[in-house]
């Protein structure tokens, strides 16, 4: 326990579900965090690419949407302290995408329109842990929330769920991404409160 702040009582004790990681508060809003303007990629020029296998594999929007998709309900946790429970998404599992790729790499760099990147171990993207999501709450994903498609990796802080994602580059050596080189934790586990460098 830290220094007691005189007169602070707080009002957030309502959550006893065990689903709220340390330092987080629950919100019903869907706040937005991004470092620059929102890109607007036309779907007829949108592609999704996985590099790092024996050869790059690329899907157009129509090809991507023809892949089997899943609907999932997940709790999400942003490093700026908000968490949101039971968010509904539809997307293509990264497992489904990787079935088309002959690879044995340990790390991935997700890259996005606008130049954003984020890095993750491949094992955090597989076995039903990650999706390329194209719908939220039954509607096409808004551009400000990452549409047309974003990565969804709900078990890590939400900056790992790259908005406007356009591909994965699979690599042997870990390569810190945008926030990871700007002071934020390399892995980002909310349950271990891995927010910043040194956590």
């Amino acid at each position: 326990m830290g220094i007691v702040s005189r007169g602070f009582r707080g009002r957030g004790r309502g959550d006893d579900s065990g689903r709220l990681p340390p330092g987080q508060y629950l919100t019903d809003d869907f706040p937005v965090l991004s470092a620059g303007p929102t890109p607007h990629a036309p779907l007829d020029r949108w592609t999704f690419t996985i590099e790092g296998g024996t050869e790059p594999v690329r899907w157009t929007w129509d090809e991507f949407r023809a892949l089997p998709s899943e609907t999932v309900t997940k709790d999400i946790h942003c490093v700026t302290k908000w968490s949101k429970f039971d968010t509904d998404w539809e997307g293509v599992s990264v497992d489904t995408l990787l079935e088309h790729v002959d690879q044995d790499r340990a790390y991935a760099v997700a890259y996005s329109d606008g130049g954003y990147t984020t890095n993750l171990p491949v094992e955090d993207l597989t076995d039903g842990k990650a999706w390329v999501a194209f719908a939220y709450d039954g509607e096409p994903l808004d551009p400000e929330h990452g549409g047309p498609a974003r990565l969804l990796v709900p078990h890590l802080y939400f900056w790992k769920s790259a908005k406007w994602v356009r591909g994965l580059r699979l690599v042997d050596e870990d390569e810190p991404g945008f926030w990871e080189t700007n002071g934020y934790h390399n892995y980002g586990d909310p349950w271990r409160e891995q927010r910043y460098w040194g956590d």
């Binding site: 326990m1 830290g2 220094i3 007691v4 702040s5 005189r6 007169g7 602070f8 009582r9 707080g10 009002r11 957030g12 004790r13 330092g23 508060y25 919100t27 809003d29 706040p31 937005v32 965090l33 991004s34 470092a35 620059g36 303007p37 929102t38 890109p39 700026t80 302290k81 908000w82 606008g114 130049g115 400000e144 945008f178 926030w179 080189t181 700007n182 002071g183 927010r195 910043y196």
Partner: protein
């Protein structure tokens, strides 16, 4: 120090504070007597090298801001982590690229840190601040803005006093076009405010020809 009816600046005495860069923020953690904790992030308003000042806006449904704005008195203690953030920052690093700052409401706080930094080091970098508030009473740093040494253009979206010389509407593409450093001058652009404000301003700036990579944004969202 009271800035407006709902905004207060706290000047903090922090042993071993490592210093900060203009535009960075800190995390504040409050602990109740029963051990319950709440954390939020707040932008730093002071210039690097000056005593650390946080300017906090009271959010009606907030948990930490009511404590910081209405409860805390000199001598109280709370935990603070930082400085945080290495992207939404401006250093007087010798570059002569103009800076164009666009603020909505309390989004002015990290931008004020940049202007104070620029003034403190005697930088000649051309600088403009376009600052949107609801009413004159909501303008944070009102008197200091007159002597900040940069061009400050204000708009009041809800109510304008008699004789008001600034703009009287929400920031739009036309206003940005009149006020901006044109893209040919390759300005660095910083936009901070509520999500809707930042989305609209950043989209309009891209429409005016600013390269997306030159526009850095910080959004306030949620409770």
């Amino acid at each position: 120090m009271t800035e407006t009816p709902s905004v207060r600046t706290l000047v903090l005495n922090i042993p071993d504070w490592p210093g900060h860069r203009a535009g960075q923020h800190v995390d504040v953690r409050l602990t109740a007597e029963d051990g319950y904790q709440a954390e939020r992030s707040y932008s730093i308003g002071s210039a690097p090298g000056m005593p650390l000042a946080l300017t906090v806006e009271l959010l009606k449904d907030g948990e930490v801001s009511p404590y910081l704005v209405e409860e805390v008195v000199p001598g109280d203690r709370f935990e603070l982590r930082g400085p945080i953030g290495g992207y939404f920052v401006w250093d007087a690093d010798g570059s002569d690229e103009p800076i164009f700052l666009v603020a909505g409401g309390s989004g002015v706080v990290p931008l004020m840190s940049m202007l104070r930094h620029r003034r403190a080091v005697g930088s000649n970098v051309p600088a403009k601040l376009l600052y949107s508030s609801r009413t004159l009473a909501d303008v944070i740093y009102r008197t200091e803005l007159d002597e900040i040494g940069a061009e400050v253009i204000q708009t009041l979206t809800r109510e304008q006093p008699p004789g008001w010389k600034g703009y009287g509407r929400r920031v739009d593409a036309e206003m940005l076009g009149e006020v901006q450093f044109p893209p040919e001058q390759n300005p660095r652009v910083f936009v901070c405010g509520p999500t809707r404000f930042v989305e609209a301003v950043a989209d309009a700036l891209v429409g005016l020809g600013h390269r997306p990579g030159r526009i850095r944004t910080e959004r306030f969202g949620g409770a």
